[in-house]
């Protein structure tokens, strides 16, 4: 897990080291750039520390949001939840870019009851019934995450930043990434550029090398970061943010995370 998050947790009063024990999430598309008239992509989703290797848990598909080029929502086909991964298929009925995202918005509460540590995860709506309104060391956190990827059939169409939570507004289209070329993305928070956030990129194929070879960079004052792709392959893009702009009244802070899978093609 991220060193940055671990440090920021240690330095805040709301220290919650349990979060940094979480594994990483990812979606993996079988193709990202497609031609022809009958295009299908299959996706794997998993939770594991080794990016794109299935060795821990499947990704839950309950909060999958697939958006087509015209803004319409599409349904995944043949969804399957296995022991180590989940998968689903998607037909691309028209030209343009598709956004495939698992979006989660939940609440975590921690408190003590008779000296015993209690922990609860759920939705904001369930909070009142499940968590005491007063308890020793009661801490309530809103948690939002977006795990996504992009695929394009034919002509690419623009990607908008998500209205809430963390996201990206790509200046370089995510389905137009090539080795040795530089791509620029804007990191957004609630749709607006987020300066000075640390961004991590991890190339796939981690099992076949001894170092992670992550790329760490920081967004500039316009929320932009750039990366020059050293190799072709799948990349795991990740960043996090923490503030107190919660939409859940009982929560003292919100923890947000963003993850995308980006495919870089050889020149």
């Amino acid at each position: 897990m991220k060193k940055v998050l671990a440090i920021s947790l240690l330095t805040t009063a709301l220290s919650l080291p349990t979060i940094s024990a979480a594994h990483d999430f990812w979606l993996l598309p079988s193709s990202t750039v497609l031609s022809g008239n009958d295009s299908w992509v299959t996706f794997d989703g998993a939770v594991s520390n080794d990016k794109f290797h299935f060795n821990h848990r499947p990704l839950r598909l309950a909060n999958l949001i697939i958006t087509g080029p015209n803004g319409a929502t599409l349904k995944p086909q043949n969804p399957h939840i296995g022991k180590l991964r989940s998968s689903f298929d998607l037909k691309l009925p028209e030209a343009g870019t598709y956004r495939i995202a698992a979006v989660n918005d939940g609440v975590m509460a921690l408190w003590k009851e008779n000296g015993e540590d209690k922990r609860w995860f759920g939705t904001a709506a369930e909070l009142a019934g499940k968590v005491p309104s007063k308890a020793d060391d009661l801490r309530i956190l809103q948690r939002g995450s977006r795990v996504e990827t992009f695929v394009t059939q034919g002509r690419p169409t623009p990607i908008e930043a998500p209205e809430s939570g963390l996201g990206i507004r790509p200046l370089t289209h995510p389905n137009d990434l090539f080795t040795n070329e530089t791509a620029i993305f804007i990191v957004t928070l609630d749709g607006r550029p987020l300066p000075n956030v640390e961004v991590e990129l991890v190339p796939g194929g981690q099992r076949y090398r001894n170092q992670i070879k992550e790329i760490i960079t920081t967004t500039n004052e316009n929320g932009e970061f750039e990366v020059t792709w050293p190799n072709a392959g799948q990349y795991w893009l990740h960043f996090e943010h923490r503030d107190n702009k919660t939409s859940v009244p009982q929560a003292q802070s919100r923890n947000l995370s963003y993850t995308a899978t980006l495919e870089v093609l050889p020149e």
Partner: protein, 171 residues
């Protein structure tokens, strides 16, 4: 004008010469020793050095499949697909034709071909990209200043999917 017609016209002249204003490209598809050989998909295009002007010159792909299913693999011509193919409703309409066998082929682009009309002055490259099913991919670039002020004769040799490529043009 379609490439087949262009080739037919070209065959009336000795190979390797270019009439005023036309482009003549000799392109060799090498014999490749493999258990399962498929003819490569090939795209030839003209590209300005800032990539803002891209003109298709030829596209060889599997045109004979039902429902034009051969287009499914056009994306394997990765650079052509990203710069040109995917922005067209009917990719390379008018310059597409069937895949070609191993051997030497000529592509002649007539001076009055649509690809050469209203071409802004600049530094261009003629780009040849080949991708083969169960095989590799290769891309070769030959410089072409435009408009032509003197005769151009460029030659390069591919290492994998392409053999000798030569470009001739004269003002």
């Amino acid at each position: 004008m379609n490439t087949v017609t262009l080739l037919a016209l070209a065959s009336a002249f000795p190979a390797g010469t270019a009439l005023a204003g036309e482009l003549s490209l000799d392109l060799t598809l090498p014999r490749i020793d493999t258990a399962e050989y498929h003819r490569p998909y090939v795209a030839v295009w003209l590209e300005s050095d800032d990539r803002k002007v891209v003109r298709d010159l030829a596209l060889w792909y599997d045109t004979q499949m039902a429902d034009d299913e051969g287009r499914t693999w056009l994306k394997d011509l990765r650079q052509w697909w990203r710069l040109s193919g995917r922005y067209q409703d009917t990719p390379a309409d008018g310059v597409s034709s069937a895949t070609r066998p191993v051997g030497k082929h000529n592509i002649t682009i007539a001076a009055d071909a649509p690809a050469l009309q209203n071409l802004p002055a600049g530094h261009y490259e003629v780009v040849v990209e080949a991708a083969r099913e169960k095989g590799g991919r290769e891309l070769i670039r030959l410089p072409l200043p435009w408009p032509l002020e003197k005769a151009v004769a460029e030659q390069q040799n591919g290492k994998h999917e392409l053999g000798e490529i030569s470009l001739k043009a004269s003002p």
